[in-house]
């Protein structure tokens, strides 16, 4: 297990290397010169040229990449052009919001998605199934930002139950009760993803329920609910776990939109604003970290996989 983990971590290196090159290329192909953006409209060409030279923007692209990558290995993601502070600090500022949002969203997804999926599969073909699985599909068909806007309209503007935007840090005044700022955003973010989990749990359970060993379990005289949970769901969990890696990528995409809708000071909104501001170092840093996180999560999923499915051996 430990050996496997180490080996897998080693295989992450080439992937990250390729990813870093891609990110660097993408970001540097974005039109717009950071030096001129930084200096504003009133800057003279000489000023821009000297700042470009200072920032190393006049060197060949591959040299710029090597410098950047060497610094990244030392934990230095460079300076934000907009904030004039180290990129890592900028990211750290948004981390609390995004992590809290992610955890709360996961909570909803697991709390709602899995039980509803089990119910849907267990009553396969009945009206319960049609409503839950149809409803899930409808939920997954709603644009995240639209859902967010109407939740704000109803629950913040209309009913005044929850705040509509922003997220003061938990360490600020209010402490944990500040989490109420995240209830609407996390529900918004959870909706399409929980819907996906419902559909996935249902489909996997239906697949498993057709397998021979479920017939064996029924032939033992077990109660249908026991067959459903112990035999069908337990095996379906393998497929569900495998999909959690993909869910993460979808989650990040939608978090970008959600944080924008609710004006949350998180990493998702940071990346959109940085793209609009052409803040190269921040875009590079955030995307690289997201890719790294994605890879780590997939590694964890694989490790979980081996625990869920004894046929998978981690050599």
């Amino acid at each position: 297990m430990l050996g496997y983990t180490l080996k897998r971590l080693l295989t992450l290196i080439p992937t990250l290397l390729v990813a870093s090159i891609l990110i660097f290329l993408f970001v540097h192909l974005i039109p717009g010169d950071p030096a001129s953006i930084l200096l504003g409209d009133s800057a003279t060409p000489e000023e821009i040229a000297s700042l470009s030279a200072h920032m190393g923007l006049d060197r060949p692209l591959w040299q710029q990449y090597l410098v950047w990558f060497k610094n990244v290995l030392h934990g230095d993601f460079g300076q934000s052009i907009f904030f004039k502070t180290p990129v890592l600090e900028v990211i750290a500022d948004g981390a609390e919001t995004s992590i809290c949002l992610a955890l709360m969203t996961m909570f909803w997804i697991v709390l709602i998605g899995i039980p509803v999926g089990i119910v849907s599969a267990s009553f396969h073909g009945s009206w319960v199934d049609q409503i839950t699985s149809g409803g899930a599909m409808l939920l997954a068909s709603i644009p995240t930002f639209w859902l967010g806007l109407y939740l704000i309209l109803i629950f913040s503007v209309g009913l005044g139950w929850f705040p509509s935007s922003g997220f003061p840090s938990i360490s600020d005044e209010g402490g944990l009760s500040n989490l109420r700022y995240l209830i609407l955003p996390s529900l918004t973010l959870a909706a399409p993803n929980a819907a996906l989990i419902v559909r996935l749990v249902r489909a996997s359970m239906l697949d498993v329920s057709r397998e021979d060993h479920v017939r064996t379990a029924r032939a033992k005289g077990l109660h249908p609910a026991r067959v459903s949970i112990k035999h069908v769901f337990r095996n379906a969990l393998i497929a569900v776990a495998a999909a959690f890696g993909f869910t993460f990528a979808a989650l990040v995409s939608e978090a970008v939109v959600t944080e924008t809708v609710f004006s949350l000071p998180g990493i998702g909104r940071l990346v959109v604003q940085s793209i609009l501001r052409r803040d190269y170092p921040v875009i590079q840093g955030v995307i690289l970290l997201i890719v790294l996180l994605y890879l780590v999560i997939n590694l964890l999923v694989d490790l979980a996989y081996a625990r869920l499915d004894p046929r998978v051996s981690l050599q």
């Binding site: 390729v18 709603i142 996906l196 979808a250 990040v252 970008v256 793209i275 997201i290 890719v291």
Partner: protein, 283 residues
């Protein structure tokens, strides 16, 4: 099997999916005949009637410029269709070919799929955002970018399905008959992938709508003057408290269309080769 019996088999006992198909037909008609259906020019501004409520003559009301929401929605159907079909074509042609060839020629495939794996680590919307900033905001670029984003998943899916087919006995049998690579790929493998391909296309079509709307909303999608449902939402979002219906209509159109396409895709998925069911990335 004829087309009619196939369609009948897909929608048998699935009234909702059949309704979805009907809705998609309506959208298609609206898209094709937009200039005959829309009562007003989608860009025509009526300064007196800004933010007017639904009624007559403005069925869905007007936006903050005083443009007719109904007419813009009808033209938006055209944009939805263009985005959907365009992205599907880009995704299936690029991704499908990469997946097919990678699975068949394993040395090349190993390399290509590694790249695809790396690209899949980028969240779809972020990849689209970065790509959109590289390019001008235009309809064609939006189509290409969304298509590329879904080409990665499509490549993965086709890779898996082709691998399965490649190990089929009838492929061995064809090789024993002396069939060459071209014949095996395009005569024996590809025709068996048409139906999963169609199902995948319907899901990509649905996802592309949501993705395009999100790009529009973030201000990096279609040019602002284009009448698309996403743009209508993006432009009017600040008026949501003053005129809540403004976001209701385009939103409902997106939801209905995406939902319909998902329903149709889901119905089709149940009628394809069961081996490929779990490969399809859909709802």
């Amino acid at each position: 099997m004829t087309l009619r019996t196939t369609i009948a088999a897909v929608f048998r006992g699935r009234k909702l999916a059949a309704l979805g198909a009907v809705w998609l037909c309506i959208i298609t008609v609206a898209a094709i005949g937009a200039q005959f259906i829309a009562p007003f020019d989608p860009l025509e501004i009526d300064p007196i009637a800004r933010l007017s409520e639904p009624g007559l003559p403005y069925l869905f009301g007007t936006d903050h410029f005083g443009r007719d929401t109904f007419s813009r929605a009808v033209y938006g159907a055209r944009m939805a269709l263009i985005i959907g079909i365009g992205s599907v074509l880009v995704a299936l042609i690029c991704g499908g070919l990469i997946g097919l060839l990678s699975a068949y020629f394993s040395t090349l495939g190993h390399f290509l799929m590694r790249i695809i794996d790396v690209l899949m680590a980028f969240p779809a919307l972020l990849l689209a955002l970065v790509l959109m900033t590289l390019l001008e905001r235009s309809v064609i670029n939006t189509v290409i970018v969304i298509g590329i984003v879904y080409a990665t998943t499509t490549a993965r899916i086709f890779f898996g399905m082709t691998l399965k087919l490649k190990n089929e006995v009838f492929i061995d049998a064809a090789r024993c008959s002396g069939a060459g690579h071209g014949s095996i790929l395009f005569r024996h493998i590809l025709p068996n992938l048409w139906s999963p391909l169609l199902v995948q296309a319907s899901f990509i079509f649905a996802f592309a709508q949501l993705q395009a709307a999100a790009l529009d909303f973030l201000g990096l999608g279609l040019p602002p003057e284009v009448a698309s449902w996403g743009n209508m939402l993006a432009e009017e979002k600040i008026y949501i408290t003053r005129a809540p219906w403004l976001l209701m209509f385009p939103g409902a159109l997106i939801i209905l269309s995406v939902f319909s396409m998902n329903l149709v895709g889901d119905a089709m998925r149940d009628s394809i080769d069961p081996r490929f069911k779990n490969d399809i990335a859909g709802i």
